[in-house]
Amino acid sequence: MSLVDELGTYLGSANTRAQLWSGLAEHCYLALLPIVFGTVLAVGAGWLGRSRPSLRGTLGVVANLVYTVPSLALFVVIPGIIGTTILDSVNVVIALSLYTAALLVRPMLDALDAVPQAVTASATAMGYRPARRFFGIELPLAVPVLAAGVRVAAVSNISLVSVGALIGVGGLGRLFTDGFQREYYAPIVVGVVLTLVLALVVDLLLVALRRFLTPWQRPAPRDPAHAEEVEA
């Protein structure tokens, strides 16, 4: 049977299609919820780094350490630390939130540093308290850098959720374990394609979101955006 025929038979089953949809939805949820949590964590770390400069070094080191730990290792160790069962999808969400936060902390701190002194000084002069200054001025200016990091984190998370299939968590990963167990190409091919499509769609949505949040940046100049793309 050629691959095309195989795909036809595979996708021909209504049950399979239903499972693909729910797998895609679960995958989406498990990959994107951590982005929200991770960003919040990173913003908090950024705030901490701004108000207590002595902690910056530690924050950087911790972030680096967390990012270095391999995903599967983190998935299985988290239950021991917070007491969930080993097969719970919460482990994946927590692990990926930590990765997202770790990925965003350094750019966050750098971006906050890059806000010109003159701007923060005039904000203070206008009567902005530190919190208002942070959320109203410094954070929005940090958005482009954050956005680049969030895009990388989103793609990375989408890829890592599949690994969760090894601990029985849902998402598209079970297409790979199924295809492997039965020596069946179709689910694996479909899984890879769907993962890529999901990554592309999410990436485009995030770019649109960034443009929405930074009206002062349109249109973006070519070269810095290019370098930004590459680093992402």
Partner: protein, 308 residues
């Protein structure tokens, strides 16, 4: 300094930021929440069926799911397969799984290592008593799927047809099987057959890694299962268990105690009764050789029974 700050004015960035967060959260929420846990079944109505990583287990899980749905249960899901019996027992005991298919002989040995039961009747008799609190078994099926030691055709051609034939050569052979095999059977096979392998390697539970290892000669003896389609498909030869080391392995639903209602149990019993070893082997071929969706295979099987 009048006029510098209008009441209620926010810097535009802040408003956009709030909107962005809402959009992000909605986007994520739209994907749906798969994190609902718990499978208390029965009165709560939510039934989660677990499966081990052997393909047949998923097939049986889907059959159970279909039977339960037609008995009126409206929230039945089948969890993605993972791990072995240890994982499922744990999940059943903490009630994150309501029900899982299991094999009577190995299940009994899991809780009672020293059992002498080997036939179906003996095993069925001892099983309920051996189970810990929180677990129960329903009626076992006549269908069986037993462990088998298999060898490649070339070794069989040398006159090795049973495990007794294999015994004198064991110390020169490498064995491949699931991780728990050594714990479960190393002592038994030495006691009954005097067989001690040169090396016991972990491959997987009769899956592609085991098949590949035996095919390539990396292992010379492998643990596979009697209803598996890959034994014949690869030309492997099962060895006769002439001294009955492996007990009867009837398919039996293992459930969290008290989690299933009467009609649900009746439906499962009907399905178990209708399952035979030949039928199960056929279904396995549908699953692993013809690569059909297990839910489809289950639907068809149940429809023919009049249960679907």
């Amino acid at each position: 300094m009048s006029g510098t700050r209008r009441s209620g004015a926010h810097p535009p960035g802040r408003l956009r930021g709030i909107v962005a967060v809402c959009v992000a959260v909605l986007m994520v929420a739209a994907c749906g929440n798969p994190l609902r846990g718990g499978a208390e079944g029965g009165d709560e109505g939510r039934i989660v069926i677990g499966a081990s990583d052997v393909g047949e287990s998923l097939l049986l899980a889907e059959i159970y799911a279909g039977a339960l749905r037609s008995a009126g249960a409206d929230d039945v899901t089948v969890r993605p397969p993972v791990g072995g019996r240890e994982v499922l027992v744990q999940a059943l005991q903490d009630r994150s799984v309501t029900l899982a298919p299991d094999y009577s002989g190995n299940l009994l040995r899991y809780f009672d290592e020293n059992t002498g039961a080997t036939t179906s009747e003996e095993v069925s008799r001892e099983l309920p008593g051996a189970l810990p609190d929180g677990l129960e078994v329903l009626t076992a099926s006549p269908a069986q799927n037993t462990d088998m030691l298999v060898v490649r055709g070339d070794l069989a051609a040398q006159g090795v047809r049973s495990i007794s034939d294999l015994a004198p050569r064991c110390d020169r052979l490498v064995f491949g099987g699931p991780g728990q095999w050594a714990d479960r059977w190393r002592g038994q096979i030495r006691k009954l057959y005097g067989c001690e392998f040169a090396e016991i390697r972990t491959t997987d539970t009769g899956g592609p890694v085991t098949v590949e290892a035996l095919r390539s000669g990396e292992v010379q003896v492998a643990n596979m299962f009697s209803t598996s389609a890959s034994v014949r498909a690869n030309g492997f030869v099962p060895l006769d268990d002439d001294r009955h080391m492996f007990p009867a392995q009837n398919i039996v639903p293992l459930a969290a105690e008290g989690s299933l209602s009467k009609p649900e149990r009746a439906a499962l019993d009907r399905v178990s009764a209708a399952l035979t070893t030949e039928k199960l082997t056929e279904l396995n071929v549908e699953f692993s050789e013809r690569k059909r969706n297990p839910a489809d295979i289950a639907d068809e099987f149940l429809a023919r029974l009049g249960e679907g």
